[in-house]
Symmetry: C2
Subunit: 203 residues, 2 copies
């Protein structure tokens, strides 16, 4: 994961030690999976003792929850910014897909963990993350619905179309690697074009 | 996982005991993840002793490899059948997307394991599965390329378009559940429509 992506995920509010632990947790979970990772693995990777880890996080599940919550919150922010940034559904959707795609390409390591280990979250954290996911999906649905009303989009089924839009972006985290031939920005632009077509936008 | 999906994945050639072990491995990996699952867990779930398991598979990695290989082979078969089933690219692509989507919705448990644990495969098995994935992707690219030549499709970038088609289908395994509102067949039909639009097919 690049330094930039890390800074994007855990801006100012966290202490340096907490950010180091989150980064170590991401690396450990990515390498071994959540279940096979111990708090000792994470502490060691962060250059700390397990006791020092517990000052910041009570468990490895708490680290996973923090990674998952901040990742989803940042994604929701990005999606809401795309909606707020204009009142023309085609432009809103293009920005949304470009940014959503870029985000999942750049943050593919975190994205993979967050998506693969969702069911390892403690119940309350799972519910919090599920609520963020619903708000992301609803924002996408809202933009499509307004586009349909305005005659800019034409879709056979609103929910399936919204699902396809988010699915395409989320799955970038699964397949994208730093060796992929397109940059995150270029992929975002191409996906923007494909999604607008999928929604029946007039060229 | 439904009985039907299991029978589709491991037809005739496997012994009943081997199929029971594969099914137990799928359940265990889905529940705990590959790394945290022991061969004892799998043997117990299959109602066997660990010693009996080793008669069929030398390790849990061998079970994962078999699940992954058979899953990818079945997916490739389906994609190649769609190509062979007609010579009109629009019809080939519609069938391909319908079947590919249906397959990932029905087999979402296996699909999730296969996609999440790809990097847990021993090197040789990873290479075999990667080769199957490339053939799947190439089949999709071939159909799109023929459609572009025939003037039936119009895409800005062939590789990105093919990637989007497979990505959309593969990601169904991540989000689809038995409680999803659309049946696998209905989702397949809807995705068929969305993908043909994405490829610029004339309505």
């Amino acid at each position: 994961m690049s330094e930039q992506a890390t800074a994007d995920l855990w801006p100012g509010e966290s202490t340096e030690a907490a950010r180091r632990l989150l980064l170590a947790a991401v690396d450990s979970f990515a390498r071994r999976g959540f279940h096979a990772t111990t708090t000792r693995d994470i502490a060691t990777a962060a250059g700390m003792s397990p006791a020092a880890l517990y000052i910041h996080y009570p468990s490895k599940a708490a680290l996973l929850a923090e990674i998952s919550r901040t990742g989803h919150q940042a994604t929701l922010d990005l999606v809401e910014r795309a909606e707020a940034g204009g009142d023309e559904p085609v432009a809103q959707m293009r920005t949304l897909v470009e940014e959503f795609t870029r985000w999942h390409a750049r943050g593919h390591t975190v994205g993979r963990i967050v998506n693969n280990e969702l069911h390892a979250l403690p119940e309350e954290d799972f519910a919090a993350v599920a609520a963020l996911r619903i708000r992301i999906e609803e924002t996408v649905q809202r933009i499509i619905a307004r586009g349909v009303e305005a005659g800019a989009f034409e879709v056979p089924d609103l929910r399936t179309a919204a699902r396809a839009v988010t699915s395409l972006g989320v799955d970038v985290a699964r397949w994208y690697t730093d060796r992929s031939s397109e940059s995150p920005e270029e992929l975002g632009r191409r996906y923007g074009v494909l999604v607008l077509r999928m929604l029946g936008a007039k060229a």
